[in-house]
Structures are given as structure tokens and as C-alpha cells.
Amino acid sequence: SSDAIFYYDETAQAKFQQDRPWVNDPHYFRRVKISALALLKMVVHARSGGTIEVMGLMQGKTDGDAIIVMDAFALPVEGTETRVNAQADAYEYMVDYSQTNKQAGRLENVVGWYHSHPGYGCWLSGIDVSTQMLNQQFQEPFLAVVIDPTRTVSAGKVEVGAFRTYPEGYKPPDEPVSEYQTIPLNKIEDFGVHCKQYYALDITYFKSSLDCHLLDLLWNKYWVNTLSSSPLLGNGDYVAGQISDLADKLEQAENQLAHSRFGLLIAPPQRKKEEESQLAKITRDSAKITVEQVHGLMSQVIKDILFNSIRR
């Protein structure tokens, strides 16, 4: 039954494409199911890009209000945040790949694109929003997935987000507060301006019985590598960047506090709350950085006790 999800019903998919239920409801798609294989490929590709943004496409199908991502493939483009339409370089590749897939018996269509935000969190920038809006105009159903490979390493879990944009001019109802994430100071404006233009979908994962078996074997092979690695050593640059960003944010908060020193007496209550929440955000960010460092140190200390304190 766990493998039933892999069955592709061409007729049902064609009918879904004809019905187009998403046209009347911008919030139609609410869930994303990503296969273990697709997730692994995306994360490995994102990690291989280092500090450079990479992108790729996802293949899959739909199932009611869920988009199911079965597989993913990388595109030969880089630096997706530095150009308006990085995808344009890879159109020929995309078309060739899709055609070859069909010839090989792979029936799934492209259902979305993924790209990486190394070190600055899972959200859609202005360029991403306009790209996704364009995709949703001409290639529905389409999904945008963002992966942060750097935070994946430091947090010890995959940092991934799946998003869909609202149509131009659509005013969304009040959204529930999404999970807080640290945004660096140099990206905070880009984040804030466009954050209301898209919404996040719930992500779940699935794997086949063969995937389970293969992943178990992979774990047995790679647990030594996993044990030997340390986020303290591997992510030093990222942590230094985070601390520097925190210092900048603190300075900014301090300046605002200084400017409003006299204003505090006559300031409306809302401004005070804003400052508090800015400081509260900074506190939360510093706690997150600290916790990740402490986790890294704990694992180093435990490994030292287990493997270095035994004398023959």
C-alpha cells in the first residue's frame, strides 16, 4: 500500500488538467508530498552548489489538493537570485529532458521547480515570486520549493519550504503565523515586501519499500561519515556570518531605541511593541545560534569521551 502512490493514472491526471479546480481557488493546493528520492536529490544538488544558488525541476502528479513530487532533476544554471530569469538558460535542456523522459516511459510531468537559498532561509524573494507567478500563469499546476542546504547542516534537519503565489492583485485573508525563521539583515527587505504574495504548503514525505531498504543499507554504510562530521567545523563561515548579522541587527535596534528615547514618552503603544518584538526576534536568533553551537559542541564532547578517553 505504501507503493501505491507511485502508480501514475494518466487518465485521471488528464481529467484533472481539464477541470482546473485551482483557477477558482488561489488556495486550492494545500499539501505537498515529496518522495525520499526527490528530496535526497534536491538536497544533494543544493549542497553541491555551496554558497551559489542552484535550481532544478520536479516531476510528479496531483492528488486532490496535494501536489506529489516523485522525482527531481538539476538544471545547468546557477545564481538564480542574481538574474531575473535564470531559467531561460535552461529551456532547451528542460524540453530535451522532458521529451527523453517520456520516451523512456516516465509519464510524470513537471510539477514545479526548486532552488536553494544557501544560509538565508526558505522563502521567496522578489525574483522568485515573479518567476513563480509566471509559471503559475502558464504551467499549472506548479510548485516552488526552496531548500537551504547550509541551515540543513547546522540544524541537523532538512530546511525546505514549498510555496505557491497568489494571483496578481489577490488579497489573501489573514494567514496563520508561519514558523519563525531568521532572515539576514541584507535580505530582510526583500523578504518583507513579498511575504504576503505567496503561501506555504504543508510538506510530508513518502518512500517506497525499496527506498526503505536502500536507505537502511546507505545508513549502515555512511553512519561513520555522519558520526565523524561536525557542524562546528563544517559550517564555520555560516556561523560567523550569522553572528555578524546578529551584531548588525542589534546595532540597528539600539539606534532605533536611541532615536526614540524622547519619543518613548509620547510614542503610541504600537511602536513600543514593535521595538520589543524586534528585540525579541534578536533574542530568539541569538538563542538559535547558541543552541546549534551547543549541540555541535555536545556531539564533539560525547565523541571525545567515547573514543578518546579509553586507554589500552
Partner: protein
């Protein structure tokens, strides 16, 4: 079982995994750096 004994012997021979003054120095420095970050974070909290 001789095969098992040889494997165990080979494994135990790898302990301690690292034993050098340089490693101890680097390890303690990293330890102190992390504790310092924690300390600074406590200041930030306050």
C-alpha cells in the same frame, strides 16, 4: 572464535581515536569558543 577476536583486537587498537597534544589544544580552544558564544548570547538575552 579467532576471526572475531582478530576483529575486536583491530577495533580496540584504534582507541583512543586521537591522542595528541595539538588535538587537545584545538579541542579545548573550540570548547572555550563555544562556551564564550553561549556567554555572549546570555548577555544578549539579558
Amino acid at each position: 572464535e579467532n576471526s572475531l577476536l582478530r576483529q575486536v583486537s583491530s577495533l580496540l587498537r584504534r582507541l583512543p581515536a586521537i591522542e595528541s597534544e595539538k588535538f587537545q589544544d584545538d579541542f579545548l580552544m573550540e570548547y572555550n569558543d563555544t562556551l564564550l558564544i553561549t556567554y555572549l548570547a546570555m548577555f544578549t538575552n539579558c
